[in-house]
């Protein structure tokens, strides 16, 4: 007890003195129906929050006050108060929400609903559903362009990245990519859109103006059959020079030169690596390992795995509080 008080006191003091170093990472555990909270100073799980069924997509609100987690089997998105570290509200997401994204102001949320081929638009302040966009079969990956004008949704069975105008909520372009596109990420300068194809085994580089695939990142790991390489989550450094791609059951993170689109290194992590999040100072990258029930910590500058943290059952998504 004394220890606990002393420890938490120290943490509080540290947080106050050096706010840049301690971050809180929230990890959704798909099977455990929990969210694990990780302190990035001590690299320990400080709290496990009970949530709804099958939590996957997870993201901080732009103001850093709330963590939103899509609980697909409960057909809703739950809102966790980051201070209280408990579920305080729910959002009307539509059926089976998996991944979602927000606009820059944090006012509008876009949710991929796998079961009815739609993207749902939610007003975060009113907590109300204000629109739908019909997209391809099994919508999944969601991201928004840096200028906020274009929303991207990927559909897993249609195999497309849909470009949606955020002002009119109309599809303006559809770009065919390789099989089962799961995740989309823009470069920070908006010059490229990266889309990972889990079954196709590639990452497509899309020109966001011309709406064409201009290149592909391919992966090859000696001793591993190509079917086991299944790209999912993507993380891009702020300088747009380096990307990290999670390769699922290949149990590796590929480090990609984001200019030449060539893989420079493979980092061995846990089993079935899914998604990732940088600490705001970009010193560390946290990745979730779905089958081994842990999170690997990567030193971004050194491009090395420095730590593994045990979390709940089948960790899937991760988000870290903005500064």
């Amino acid at each position: 007890m004394w220890r606990r008080c002393l420890l938490s006191g120290t943490v509080l003091w540290l947080a106050a003195a050096a706010p840049a170093s301690a971050f809180m990472a929230y990890v959704s555990n798909e099977k455990g129906n929990t969210v694990s909270v990780i302190d990035t100073d001590s690299w320990t799980v400080t709290k496990t929050i009970k949530v709804g069924q099958r939590p996957r997509g997870i993201e901080f609100s732009r103001d850093g006050k709330f963590v939103m987690v899509a609980v697909g089997d409960d057909d809703t998105i739950q809102v966790i108060d980051a201070k209280k570290q408990e579920v305080v509200d729910t959002l009307p997401s539509g059926p089976d929400p998996e991944l979602f994204t927000q606009d820059a102001a944090g006012k509008i949320m876009y949710v991929a609903n796998e079961n009815d081929n739609t993207v749902t638009v939610i007003d975060l302040e009113k907590r109300a559903r204000i629109g739908d966009v019909q997209v391809g079969v099994e919508p999944e990956g969601m991201t928004i362009s840096p200028d906020g004008k274009i929303l991207i949704n990927t559909s897993e069975t249609t195999n497309m990245a849909h470009f949606i105008d955020t002002s009119t909520r109309q599809i303006v372009a559809n770009v065919l990519v390789d099989a089962r596109p799961r995740f989309a990420e823009f470069k920070h300068d908006g010059s490229e859109l990266w889309v990972s194809s889990e079954i196709g085994g590639t990452v497509s580089i899309v020109d966001p103006v011309k709406h064409v695939v201009t290149g592909k990142v391919t992966f090859s790991i000696p001793g591993l059959r190509s079917e086991a390489i299944q790209p999912v989550g993507i993380g891009m450094t702020k300088d747009d020079k380096t990307a990290f791609v999670a390769l699922g059951p290949a149990n590796r993170i590929a480090v990609v030169d984001a200019v030449s689109h060539k893989v420079t290194k493979y980092l061995l992590v846990g089993q079935r690596v899914w998604h990732m999040a940088f600490t705001p100072d970009e010193k560390y990258l946290l990745v979730t390992n779905g089958v081994s029930n842990d999170v690997s910590v990567i030193d971004v500058a050194a491009q090395k795995v420095i730590k593994t943290i045990q979390v709940g059952e089948l960790p899937w998504g991760v988000t870290i509080a903005p500064q």
């Binding site: 796998e114 897993e156 195999n159 196709g200």
Partner: protein
């Protein structure tokens, strides 16, 4: 010609706002048989629309995608009754459809294939599991989406060997297809290091599959049938004709698990499959058809999805282009089995993982870990390239 005419009309109608071009129409025919095979278990009794229900869902999925590519998929269904001319029916379907998904017995499938050979219509075999259709009787215009007996038998054998259940008591039905399945199982045992310690034939003496007091008799019959067998680990039953296998679990003389046609069953799909995003297709299927998805439904869905995939990748509705893409090195399709499915170029058989199911749960998925292959681990299932008797022409 029609396209030109449409364009010309478009030009004349310049005053009206510009409309999107007419969608490219892609016709898919479905050639199945009327009626369904009786199963021992009432729970497993197939629905009237077994198979075609999968095509309907895939056509819906293809059309959702087609919306963005200006492609429209149409489905035309024909059911053959006993004795009806399959070649005639196939030819009539081929007049309007570049692709025909077939659920036919092996000989009827070959007749259809040969009737369509010269017109370039492609058949997608969704139902027949006979190895000979991919071997000595292979045809250059038939793609096989259904797994083969040998793929199913190998998938089961890999798991039983992994489980160290290597001593098999093989019980074989008296019909031809039961014997073919037994051949595949014996071959699998030899390939993967299992041993058939005893083999027995279960004669089909006729009679109804459903009776009011059947259980009493079966409970006496099955233990007697399975006694005095040398020490074995697992009873493997080859009973595609649905005569006895489902009576074996819990009734064997020795307390042993049952596999093959009952107990642990190898299959391309199961209503319990929920991995790799499968819940999505299970939900979509249920919503459309108000029942659960069977292996035949999935095989037919995959066949129609392959056509859709080829159409979107080539941005074309020309069956020749689509077929060339399907046979080419760039083709793969996702079908909720955790890996991409591709075609074996030597006999146009779709490579696929095989599920091992017990009727309630998916117990395992083959190929099992450790069964290695220099090209694809999926080729540890079934007849491989060096052994093939197929010469595509």
């Amino acid at each position: 010609m029609v396209r030109w005419l449409v364009a010309a009309i478009g030009l004349i109608a310049m005053a009206t706002p510009v409309r999107a071009a007419e969608p490219i129409e892609i016709g898919i025919g479905y050639l199945g048989r009327a009626g369904v095979q009786q199963r021992l278990s009432l729970v497993e009794q197939p629905a009237e629309n077994d198979g075609i229900a999968g095509v309907r869902l895939a056509v819906e999925d293809n059309n959702t995608t087609g919306k963005f590519l200006n492609q429209r998929f149409n489905l035309e269904e024909v059911r053959l009754r006993e004795g009806e001319d399959v070649a005639k029916a196939a030819t009539a379907l081929a007049d309007r459809n570049g692709f025909i998904i077939a659920d036919l017995p092996p000989d009827a499938l070959l007749q259809a294939a040969d009737a369509l050979r010269d017109r370039g219509t492609v058949l997608l075999n969704a139902g027949a599991i006979d190895d000979r259709l991919r071997e000595q009787d292979c045809r250059a215009n038939v793609i096989h989406v259904a797994p083969t007996r040998s793929m199913l038998a190998d998938a089961l054998a890999q798991y039983l060997v992994w489980k160290q259940w290597k001593r098999w008591f093989l019980v074989v039905g008296s019909h031809d297809k039961d014997k073919l399945y037994a051949d595949a199982l014996r071959r699998a045992a030899t390939r993967f290091g299992a041993k058939v310690v005893q083999e027995k034939t279960f004669e089909d003496t006729g009679g109804a599959r459903r009776t009011d007091s059947g259980v009493t008799l079966i409970q006496r019959q099955m233990p007697v049938f399975t006694q005095q067998i040398p020490a074995y680990d697992v009873l493997v039953a080859a009973d595609e004709s649905e005569v006895f296998a489902s009576y074996l679990p819990y009734r064997t003389w020795d307390p042993r698990p049952v596999a093959g046609s009952a107990g642990l069953v190898p299959t391309s799909w199961d209503a319990a499959q929920d991995q790799w995003g499968a819940v999505q297709i299970q939900n979509r299927f249920m919503k459309l058809n108000s029942r659960r998805m069977t292996a035949l439904d999935m095989q037919a869905w995959t066949a129609a999805r392959m056509i859709g995939e080829a159409a979107s990748r080539t941005n074309s509705g020309d069956p020749k282009k689509l077929f060339a893409f399907l046979k080419g090195p760039d083709f793969s399709v996702a079908a909720f089995k955790g890996t991409r499915l591709t075609l074996r170029d030597w006999n146009l058989q779709l490579r696929q993982p095989i599920l091992l199911v017990d009727g309630r749960m998916v117990v395992s998925v083959s190929p099992q870990e450790g069964f290695l292959h220099q090209v694809s681990e999926l080729d540890t299932l079934g007849v491989d390239r060096p052994e093939t008797k197929c010469k595509l022409q």
